[in-house]
Amino acid sequence: MSGVRSPAEALSDALPDAVVEVVAEGTHPFVRVEPESIVEAARVLKEQCGAEMLHQISGVDFEDRIEVVYHFARLAPDPDFLCLKVSLPRDDPVVPTLAHEWRAANWAERETWDLLGVRFSGHPHLFRILLPEDWEGHPLRKDYAFPESYHGIDCTQ
Amino acid sequence: MIGAEPLSSSLAAWLAALFGVGATWPIQALAMLIVATGVVALVVTPVGLGGVYLERKLSGRIQNRRGPNRVGPYGLLQTLADGIKLLVQEDIVHKAADAALFRFAPYVVFLAAFTGYVVMPFAPGLTAADLDVGIFFFLAMIGIETIGVVMAGWSSNNKWSLLGSMREVAQVVSYELPLGLAAMCPVIASGSLSLNTITDMQAGPIWNWFVIRNGYWAIVMVPAFLIFYTAGLAAAKRLPFDLPEAESELVAGFHTEYSGMRFGMFFLPEYAVMLSISGVATVLFLGGYHDPFGLSAGSLAGVWWWGLIWFFLKTTVLFLLQIVLRWTLPRLRIDQVMYLCYKGLLPVAMACVVLAAVLRLL
């Protein structure tokens, strides 16, 4: 009977070294794992906690670090969202890609790269997705400076 | 033969008398030309414009809208206004297009669509040219239109246009087969390829019409009529078969790059072909210009306006049905279009031809 274990429990058993922080209570329970073991952690969620769908990948710029937050959806039993977080250094955020196991991660990771500049190592197609190819910077970073002009178009208005 | 002399012959005689020469072939040709121009200018173009108006008004009413209602009473002049707009619009030939072909293509389509009317018996004596092979002339003209469309699609240098024109070729050339075979049934029944002769065979009351001739011919003629009508829809590129210009797939197909009057020269022929298909269907199956009561064979024989009224009445009903069908049905896919042609209509049409031959022998 898989799918009923809580992610905290399952991850502490399967990958005790990788778990950095566990928050099981409150409005947003999550497990923070080491960036290197995100692929294994996601696999544990899939196999033991019934996470059948990758729901969303979010990046958050916390000035001192960048967090990438993965939300998985458990469809049944007890539908819920399971959350994994990784913390990355701000100057060179790199995390292994989930795109090979979860096809949904392909575009979501591209978007995170596009808007936050998180590099997903091993991603098959890590190019900008929403912004044009030649855009400079990653807009969702907190210190992003809006460009004065783009290809001669005045952006200051 | 019921009905007067073809109009061109009377005109030729009159011209010959006017110039004081014999009715030699240049005079006859001149007379034919005058009649053909007259027919196109006085009958077909207004009816084509009326067709556009009817289509827009009817589609509006079907869709809970009003349709054109601003220009003129009930919006009657809307089509004319659109025509004027098309005339004054800039005629764009874009840089990458093959300019000569691009410019020439609309004329081919326009000419082909309107030349079909030359053999159309509108009323007793009102035929531009009573050809012995009228029905084949008509089908050939529909085929020639395809060439213009391919020219347009190719010279546009636009992949969507190219795809549209290729679809047109595949579709129209395929549907020529069931169209021709279905037309063979009345031809077999009447023993003539001339549209006038076929019409006159159907004079008299309604049971003389080929579609229900003497009752038992209906077994052949009703399916043949349906096939002719369906294939005619395909030849006219009307909606279950509007793949060449499928708006939601190919933007506008072969005429994507056209503007102004050149676009108009694709647009108007579409209605002209719709109308001529309806007209030929009327001639072949529904008694042409003969009324259902037998008056045109009796007291009103040879009266041209009586025939004209009935011809246009029947043609308009078929024409309106084409319009209503367009606003009812979704579009087929290209493979389904081919399936319907080769596996659906063609075998049935062949069976009809064979059966018609058998009935004829009986």
Partner: protein
Amino acid sequence: MTPSIQGVALNQREASVPALPRDIQTEELVFNMGPQHPSTHGVLRVVLRTDGEVVLEAQPLIGNLHRCCEKILENLTYVQGVPYVDRMDYLGSLNMELGLVLAVEKAAAIEVPKRAQYLRVILCEMNRIASHLMAAGQFGLDMGAFTPFLYMFREREEGIRLLDEVTGGRLLYHYIRYGGVTRDVSDDWIGRTAVWCDRIDAHMQEYNDLLTYNHIFLNRACGVAIIDKQTALAFGATGPILRAAGVGRDLRKDMPYSSYEDFEFDIPVGPFDKGVVGDSWSRYKQRLLEMTQSTRIIRQALDKLPEGEIQHKKVTRGWKAPAGEAYVASEAPRGEISCYFVSDGGKKPYRCRMRGPSFFNIALLEETSRGLLIGDLIALMGSIDITLGEVDR
């Protein structure tokens, strides 16, 4: 020169279509479909590699409508942000507002009065019906059937008028606020909304006669462009696509929010009476059936609408959410939207990550379109029903 898009050669991947014999091998065409194409439902650009009519590869390229909504939300106060999310999925904008508001309410533990919750449900379901009518009609339009589209617009128009009476907007409502809703409804409005629900159900027969069970339509849509359960789950596709693929997931039932647990309704799950599970027709039919369920919910909510206030606490311009975070998902017309909301205790949200279901759904296009005819590709795009506003955000 091989055409390449964003660094990847188009012929990089082999299509599943069998290769033609060498002597009849023909040139492949690369089509640029969109951003101005009538069937891309917005400013989507799809690059097609085709062999004649057969699509070998379709690559959706998005971003033409990108406004960086998330950055805008970070720079606006809480109150100011709500009208912005309306503009993500502009056809189901009430549901979008609800997505944001629910996340903030959860993080800040704002209580919503029961009447406001019911009003949210009623209006969101009306919005869902309006959106589904649009989607189903668009699907017909993509297939060349123009008339059902306008019939559906007629019903949609009436629904929009009802929404307009309550919210003041016809497309972008800005109705849901933190802790409640803006305006209350009148008894007269309740009566007319119930009548509208009846009209929707009554007209369903018309749509079925004209479009759903039309033989041409069935031939076009049944059994083509199949998105099966595994593919849908792998790509994170949600909403009607996932349910038509045979997965009975609906957040209104699975993780009820805003009092959805009070109502009795079914979740239609594919396959239906025609076609196979997960094909274009099932996705279309799914939407029609969901509309019927939505009218059920609306009728129940109108009947049971409790008395009381519609907003406990007014969230004003200077309101500060307590530090914290929340992830709340809700069921929008096109699938599951979610908001990952992070607050640092300031006047503005620290991060508002919005999930647009269409963003994940449209990614399926590349996978599903191989070997389809161009006409079927159009049908596939119509049945996925994307809104570019939420794809690009």
